[in-house]
């Protein structure tokens, strides 16, 4: 089970090092702190919107999870800074990750 194999099934996981309790982002097989193997935490994670802008009808947002993971995600409704969100849809398309939030 890898981050990408889970993501390609539409499951967003959080990579974590059990040895040093560090969330590792971007996702990696190894911890960037202690070099141990990372594990994937599954769940319905809550994040918050850090910043956003808009292109055509869609908003693109920088969102943060656990004060350490930041990623860019699409949102269809008007976002607000510090708004609490969840990932509603994610996956891999043409080699690139995609994330949608509500």
């Amino acid at each position: 089970m890898s981050f990408e194999s889970e993501l390609s099934k539409g499951q967003f996981c959080i990579p974590e090092c059990l040895a040093c309790k560090k969330i590792v982002w971007p996702p990696s097989e190894f911890c960037d702190n202690c070099n141990e193997i990372t594990f994937l935490k599954k769940g319905d994670f809550e994040g918050k919107i850090i910043e956003f802008s808009k292109q055509n009808e869609d908003y693109f947002c920088m969102v943060e999870f656990y004060n350490s993971i930041r990623l860019m995600a699409k949102m269809s409704k008007i976002p607000k800074k510090d708004q609490i969100i969840k990932i509603s849809r994610c996956g891999i398309s043409n080699g690139s990750y995609f994330f949608e939030i509500i």
Partner: protein, 369 residues
């Protein structure tokens, strides 16, 4: 550490034309040798090629095409700051004694693969640079109460200055309304806020003190170097309204040169997008946070070319691998008082700021006569 200076330079115009990478590398290098016929190619110990192009073995190819048989020949890629990173590598070769004379040639085509960092999946489907630029712009404008019209002055100023640069991509001037009414790429970014990918090449020749003094009576010395990489991924930037890597690189370069920012008479800063210019000026310490647009506005109104005299990336165009070298050539010309209509007053100490991938990596150079 032994002194390293700049002997000579050459360039091509920056255009939208379709040329082979090998051809434009050769063209700017040839320009260098034509302008400096007394340089003995046999004395060139290293040839470094700065590019994001996927063609292979470019440094040995350029060496063969120009009749050089260097000891050291390789390419250097670091997205948008490949050029100054190559200059730093050349500096290290010379100051360590591994080389006495190094040719650096940077080039890019308009369709460079270096425009998008495919690895950075944290950007999701928003990998094009216009998305990080929009987030920076939104954050900066909101934090410091800057309007789109105020930010547009960067583009107006740099297009105006580029008009005096015969090698610049842009030949036009624009008004604030032209910029804010140009094609809307996102809610926070217009087309004229962006530097444009293009085809171009720039070459520069560095040497040890003894070789510099033998070859030119107008040497320019690299007296300060600072580099910092904070991450590769855009979303790792802690601040979206300042440039941490630039701040650290700038401080290192000024410390090495034994100068403060107030000693800098002329600077080329990496205005990949309008918002980058005030952010860079603030992060380098020219002004306090949020005050970048004040100095830019003053310079524009007084027709002072102190910042980005060649027209910046916005006016000159941005052939990634050539940009840092082109910026450096501009500062050399300023210090040598040969910048013609772009010449600034009393240019004795100059600075170059060149960065990559949403300011995740910065290189700063200080140059002096």
């Amino acid at each position: 550490m032994s002194k390293v200076g700049i002997i000579a330079y050459g360039t091509t115009p920056f255009t939208k034309e379709d040329h082979k990478i090998e051809s434009i590398l050769h063209k700017s290098t040839n320009d260098l040798f034509q302008k400096n016929p007394n340089i003995d190619k046999k004395e060139i110990d290293a040839v470094l090629v700065s590019t994001n192009n996927n063609s292979k073995y470019l440094s040995p190819i350029l060496s063969e095409m120009t009749g050089i048989q260097p000891k050291i020949a390789h390419s250097i890629e670091s997205l948008c700051n490949s050029g100054t990173n190559s200059i730093v590598s050349a500096f290290a070769y010379i100051s360590s004694g591994l080389a006495d004379m190094v040719l650096i040639s940077g080039a890019e085509r308009y369709d460079s693969p270096g425009q998008i960092l495919e690895w950075d999946n944290s950007r999701g489907e928003f990998k094009h640079p216009i998305f990080w630029a929009s987030i920076f712009s939104k954050s900066y404008k909101q934090k410091f109460g800057i309007s789109d019209e105020e930010l547009a002055i960067v583009s107006v100023k740099n297009h105006k200055q580029a008009k005096e640069n015969p090698n610049a991509l842009s030949k036009k001037t624009y008004t604030i309304q032209d910029v804010v009414n140009s094609k809307k790429l996102t809610d926070d970014l217009r087309l004229l806020d962006c530097s444009r990918p293009c085809t171009g090449s720039a070459s520069i020749l560095l040497a040890s003190e003894e070789v510099v003094r033998k070859n030119t009576d107008r040497p320019v010395w690299i007296t300060g170097i600072g580099q910092k990489t904070t991450s590769a991924g855009f979303t790792k930037n802690n601040s979206l309204s300042s440039m941490e890597s630039t701040k650290i690189a700038g401080q290192s370069a000024l410390k090495m040169a034994n100068h403060t920012i107030s000693d800098i008479d002329v600077a080329e800063v990496h205005d990949a997008f309008s918002v980058c210019e005030p952010m860079a000026l603030e992060s380098l310490g020219f002004v306090n946070p949020g005050k970048g647009m004040s100095i830019i506005n003053d310079l524009h109104e007084t027709n002072n070319f102190k910042i980005n005299p060649r027209g910046g990336l916005i006016g000159t165009g941005h052939p990634l691998g050539a940009t840092g070298i082109s910026q450096t050539i501009e500062i050399v010309q300023q210090l040598q008082k040969s910048a013609e209509k772009r010449q600034t007053d009393n240019a004795e100490v100059g600075l170059i700021h060149n960065m990559s991938a949403a300011a995740t990596s910065s290189t700063v150079l200080v140059l002096e006569k």
